[in-house]
C-alpha cells in the first residue's frame, strides 16, 4: 500500500486504465449526454462550411421574419438567417474557449507547479500575483483588460486568459505540494534524480486529474464569459455571428425573440454539456472532491 497514492485508494487499481471503452461505460448518463453535445459542437466547427446553410453574413430575406420552414430561426434586423448565424457562431466561440482554456491551463499549471515544488520566494511571488488577480471579479477584470486593449475577439481572449490562469496555478500548486511528500518521490530523490526530473516524471503525472476536470467545466464558463464580453460590445466586432453579440442585437429587438433564442440555446447547450461532462469525469477520477 505504501506506493498507492490516495487518488487510487478507493478504486481497484487494475481497472483504472482498462481502455477507453471501459471508461465510456463507466461514465454517468448525464456525462455521456454532455460528451455527445460537445462532440456535436466540435463537429459543427469542423464541418459547418460544408453544410447547406445560408451565408451567415448575407441578407437572405426580409428583416425580422419569425421562424419558418425556410428560415428555421427567422431572420435578424439585417435580414440574415439566424439559424445559419448560430451554427457559424460556433466557429468563433468553441475554438476561442479551447484556446483560452488551453493557455490558462499551460500558464497556470506551469507557474503553480513551480511555485509548489520550489517554494520559497518563487512561491510567494507567484501566489501573491494569483491573489491579486482573483481578488477582482472575473467579468470586471476581463472588461477592464478588453476595454484597454480595444474590442476584438483576440483581445477578449487575452483578457480571459488573464482572468483564468490563477485558478489552475492554485490547483496545481496544491496537488504538487501534496504529492511532493509521497514516499515514491523521496525514493526518487534518494535514488539521485534531478529536481526537474522528480517534478516532471514523479510528481506531475499524478496531478493532472483535478486540472482536467476543472478545465472541462471551465470550457463552458469561458464560452459564457466570451459571450458576455461580446454582449457589452467588448468582444467580437460586427458582422461576426458571435453568440454574445447576436444576443445583444436580439435584446434591442426584444419582441423578435428568435434573434436571441438561437445563440442563447447554443450557449446553454455548451455550458450544460461541459458541466455534465466535468461532473462525470470528477466522479471517475477524483472521488474525494465529488
Amino acid at each position: 500500500m505504501a506506493m498507492t497514492s490516495p487518488d487510487t485508494a478507493g478504486l481497484p487499481p487494475r481497472r483504472r486504465f482498462a481502455g477507453s471503452r471501459d471508461l465510456w461505460r463507466r461514465l454517468p448518463v448525464t456525462a455521456k449526454i454532455g460528451a455527445l453535445m460537445l462532440l456535436f459542437w466540435v463537429l459543427t466547427v469542423l464541418t459547418v462550411s460544408l453544410w447547406p446553410l445560408a451565408d451567415p453574413l448575407a441578407m437572405v430575406g426580409r428583416r425580422l421574419q419569425p421562424p419558418s420552414g425556410e428560415h428555421w430561426l427567422g431572420t435578424d434586423a439585417l435580414g440574415r438567417d439566424v439559424f445559419a448565424r448560430t451554427m457559424y457562431g460556433a466557429i468563433w466561440s468553441i475554438p476561442i474557449a479551447f484556446v483560452v482554456v488551453a493557455c490558462a491551463v499551460v500558464i497556470g499549471s506551469t507557474l503553480g507547479a513551480l511555485a509548489g515544488f520550489f517554494g520559497g520566494w518563487n512561491d510567494s511571488i507567484i501566489m501573491r500575483l494569483v491573489d491579486v488577480t482573483v481578488s477582482f471579479p472575473p467579468i470586471l477584470l476581463a472588461m477592464a483588460v478588453a476595454a484597454v486593449l480595444g474590442p476584438g475577439l483576440a483581445n477578449a481572449s487575452i483578457a480571459m486568459v488573464i482572468v483564468w490562469w490563477p485558478i489552475y496555478a492554485r490547483l496545481m500548486r496544491a496537488q504538487v505540494l501534496e504529492k511532493r511528500e509521497n514516499e515514491h518521490v523521496e525514493a526518487a530523490v534518494a535514488g539521485g534524480a534531478g529536481r526537474l526530473r522528480v517534478l516532471g516524471v514523479h510528481i506531475l503525472p499524478l496531478c493532472w486529474a483535478p486540472t482536467l476536470i476543472n478545465a472541462t467545466m471551465d470550457f463552458g464558463q469561458v464560452v459564457l464569459l466570451a459571450a458576455s464580453l461580446s454582449f457589452i460590445g467588448l468582444g467580437a466586432t460586427p458582422p461576426s455571428p458571435e453568440w454574445g453579440s447576436m444576443i445583444s442585437e436580439g435584446a434591442t429587438k426584444f419582441y423578435s425573440w428568435w434573434i436571441a433564442f438561437g445563440p442563447g440555446m447554443a450557449i446553454l447547450s455548451v455550458v450544460l454539456a461541459t458541466s455534465f461532462l466535468g461532473d462525470g469525469l470528477r466522479d471517475l477520477f477524483d472521488r474525494r472532491s465529488a
Partner: protein
C-alpha cells in the same frame, strides 16, 4: 450558519414582489411619470447640453421667445415684443411682467446677467452667444443686444432652452458668476443639480443621477398654472422596458420607443403616434485620418456616398419609419425644400474608384456602440459595410464606448465615423456652424485633423455670411446653396432622419414634439 430553505424562499419571494409591484402607479394621480434613458450632463442652463436638458430647462426656465407648435414661427415668451434693426446686428426685447419662483420680478438685469454668463462660462451651449458684443438695459423692462456681424438667426438662438433666464440674485448668492472670469470663477454647477432659479411653470424638486428627475409645480407661476403638481422622469434604459412600463401603467409617457417596438405594443390603453423628427444619423469621412494620404478626395468620398443603398438603409435601421435627408440640415429647415437626397449608383462608384486606383480600398470605421433615436449603430454600420463591399471597399468596424470614441475623435484614428445630431432651435445656421467646411468650424478640425486644406470649402464662408445677413426667402436661398456645397463636400453623409414615436397612456393629452424644447411638459394634462 445553517441554510434555511424556507427563509431563503420567503426572502426571494419578497424580493420578487418588490420587482413586480410598481413603485407608484401613475394613473389617476396628480403626478406625471415619464420613462426615459437620461443623458444629463448638467442641469445648469449655461452648461447643460443634452436632450433631457432641453425639456427640463424648458419646464423650469423661460426663454425670451419660444417656438410655436408649428415648429417654425417664434412667439413671445418672457419678451412680449421685440425689434430687430435692418442689418440684423441689434436686437431689442421688451419684457412682460413676470416673476421668478421666489416672487422677485424678471428684469432686464437678469436677462443681461444670464446671457453674459452663458457666453463667459464657456460651456457646451456657449456657442449660442458667439458674436455677442454688448448687452445693455435700456430700462428695467427693456434690453438691447448687439452682435459683431449680421445674424438673422439670433432671434431663433434665444429660443434655445439653454438661454432660459436665470434669477441672477439667487444664482449669484450660490456661487454663480457672469463676468469674464466665469469660466473659472463660477462654482454654481453643483448647486444647480439640486436647485433651480427660473421663472418657468415647474421647479426642480430633486435629481438623482441615473435614477430620477423630479419637478414640482411652481405655485407662484405668473402664467397659466400647469395641470400636474409633480413630474417624475424615471430612468428606464431601453425601448422594450419603456414600452412595458407604459403598457402596465407604471408610466404615463415613454420618450424613447422606436417604431419597431411601437408596433409590438398591444395594449388598447396606449396611444402611439409616429411623426417625422428633425434628428438625423450620419456617417462622417475623415480625410486627414492616419494612413489616408490624400486617398479620400472629394470624388472618392462622393463615390463612397453613392455606394450606399439609402432605401435599404431606411428599411434596416428604422423599418422604413423615417426619411432620407440630402444635406446635413434636417428636412423642413430653411433651405432644404429644394435639395434632392443622394441615391445609390454602384457603377459610378466603382468607376470612380477604379480611375483613382483605389479598387482595393480598406477603411476603418470607429463609432459609439449605441442605440440612438431607435437606430442601432451596429446594424447601421453593418449595412454600410455591406454596401461598401459591393464596390470592393473593405470597411472594418470598430464599435467603441462613448469615452473612447470621444477621445479618438479629432485624432484621426479612423477615416470613417458615425454619429447623430438633434437641433437646439429652429434655424439652419447651427448646422453650417457645426458641419460647414469653414476655417475654424468644428468639423473642419475633425475631418482635416490638422490639415484643414484637405477639406475647407472657400465658397461656404461667403454664403454663410450672406445667409446670416438676410431673412426670409433670401436666407432660404443662401441656405439651399450652402446645403448643395455641403453635399459636394461629401464629408457628412446623412443616412436616415428617423421618425419619432410619441407614446403615452390614453388619458394623457397635449404630448407634442418641439424642435427646440423636445417635450413641453407644461402643456400636458390628464383627462
Amino acid at each position: 450558519m445553517t441554510y434555511h430553505p424556507r427563509k431563503g424562499l420567503a426572502a426571494l419571494m419578497l424580493a420578487g414582489s418588490a420587482l413586480i409591484a410598481p413603485p407608484a402607479l401613475a394613473q389617476d394621480s396628480d403626478t406625471l411619470v415619464i420613462a426615459r434613458s437620461m443623458d444629463v450632463n448638467s442641469l445648469d442652463p449655461s452648461r447643460a447640453f443634452c436632450d433631457t436638458c432641453q425639456f427640463y430647462l424648458t419646464a423650469v426656465y423661460e426663454t425670451l421667445v419660444t417656438l410655436a407648435p408649428d415648429n417654425q414661427s417664434l412667439v413671445p415668451n418672457l419678451a412680449e415684443s421685440w425689434e430687430v434693426n435692418e442689418d440684423f446686428t441689434e436686437f431689442t426685447f421688451k419684457l412682460k411682467d413676470a416673476t421668478f419662483a421666489d416672487g422677485s420680478p424678471v428684469e432686464a438685469s437678469d436677462v443681461i446677467w444670464t446671457f453674459n454668463r452663458l457666453k463667459n462660462v464657456k460651456g457646451s451651449p456657449s456657442f449660442l452667444m458667439d458674436g455677442l458684443t454688448s448687452a445693455e438695459a435700456v430700462d428695467a423692462k427693456t434690453v438691447k443686444f448687439t452682435v459683431d456681424a449680421p445674424n438673422s438667426e439670433f432671434l431663433n438662438k434665444v429660443s434655445a432652452p439653454y438661454t432660459g433666464i436665470i434669477n441672477a440674485e439667487v444664482a449669484e448668492a450660490n456661487g454663480a458668476v457672469s463676468d469674464d472670469t466665469a469660466a473659472e470663477a463660477d462654482k454654481a454647477e453643483s448647486w444647480f443639480l439640486a436647485n433651480s432659479a427660473g421663472s418657468g411653470p415647474f421647479q426642480l424638486a430633486s435629481y438623482s443621477p441615473e435614477a430620477e428627475l423630479r419637478l414640482s409645480r411652481n405655485e407662484s407661476y405668473h402664467g397659466e398654472a400647469p395641470a400636474f403638481a409633480e413630474v417624475v422622469v424615471t430612468q428606464i434604459q431601453d425601448a422594450v422596458s419603456q414600452a412595458q412600463a407604459l403598457e402596465t401603467g407604471q408610466v404615463d409617457i415613454a420618450m424613447q420607443i422606436d417604431p419597431d417596438t411601437a408596433q409590438s405594443i398591444r395594449s388598447p390603453e396606449v396611444t402611439t403616434e409616429v411623426i417625422p423628427s428633425y434628428n438625423f444619423v450620419y456617417i462622417g469621412f475623415i480625410p486627414g485620418a492616419k494612413g489616408m494620404d490624400g486617398k479620400l478626395t472629394a470624388e472618392v468620398r462622393d463615390a463612397l456616398a453613392s455606394a450606399i443603398d439609402y432605401d435599404g438603409m431606411l428599411d434596416f435601421t428604422v423599418g422604413g419609419n423615417g426619411e432620407k435627408q440630402a444635406a446635413p440640415i434636417p428636412n423642413g429647415f430653411p433651405g432644404t425644400a429644394g435639395l434632392t437626397p443622394r441615391s445609390q449608383d454602384v457603377e459610378k462608384a466603382k468607376q470612380v474608384l477604379a480611375d483613382a486606383g483605389l479598387s482595393d480600398l480598406k477603411l476603418v470605421a470607429g463609432y459609439p456602440n449605441d442605440n440612438i433615436y431607435g437606430v442601432d449603430f451596429n446594424i447601421m454600420m453593418q449595412k454600410v459595410q455591406q454596401d461598401f463591399a459591393a464596390i470592393g471597399v473593405e470597411l472594418e468596424l470598430k464599435p467603441l464606448t462613448w469615452a473612447v470614441w470621444r477621445d479618438e475623435l479629432g485624432t484621426g484614428e479612423w477615416p470613417v465615423t458615425a454619429i447623430y445630431y438633434a437641433p437646439d432651435y429652429y434655424g439652419s445656421g447651427q448646422y453650417v456652424a457645426y458641419f460647414g467646411m469653414i476655417e475654424g468650424f468644428p468639423w473642419v478640425g475633425r475631418a482635416g485633423v490638422g490639415n484643414d486644406e484637405l477639406v475647407v470649402n472657400p465658397a461656404e464662408s461667403d454664403l454663410y455670411a450672406q445667409a446670416l445677413a438676410s431673412a426670409g426667402d433670401e436666407a432660404d436661398a443662401a441656405y439651399q446653396k450652402l446645403g448643395e456645397e455641403m453635399m459636394k463636400d461629401a464629408i457628412i453623409i446623412p443616412l436616415v432622419s428617423p421618425n419619432l414615436v410619441l407614446a403615452y397612456r390614453n388619458d394623457i393629452e397635449g404630448v407634442r414634439y418641439s424642435a427646440c424644447c423636445n417635450l413641453p411638459l407644461a402643456e400636458i394634462s390628464r383627462n
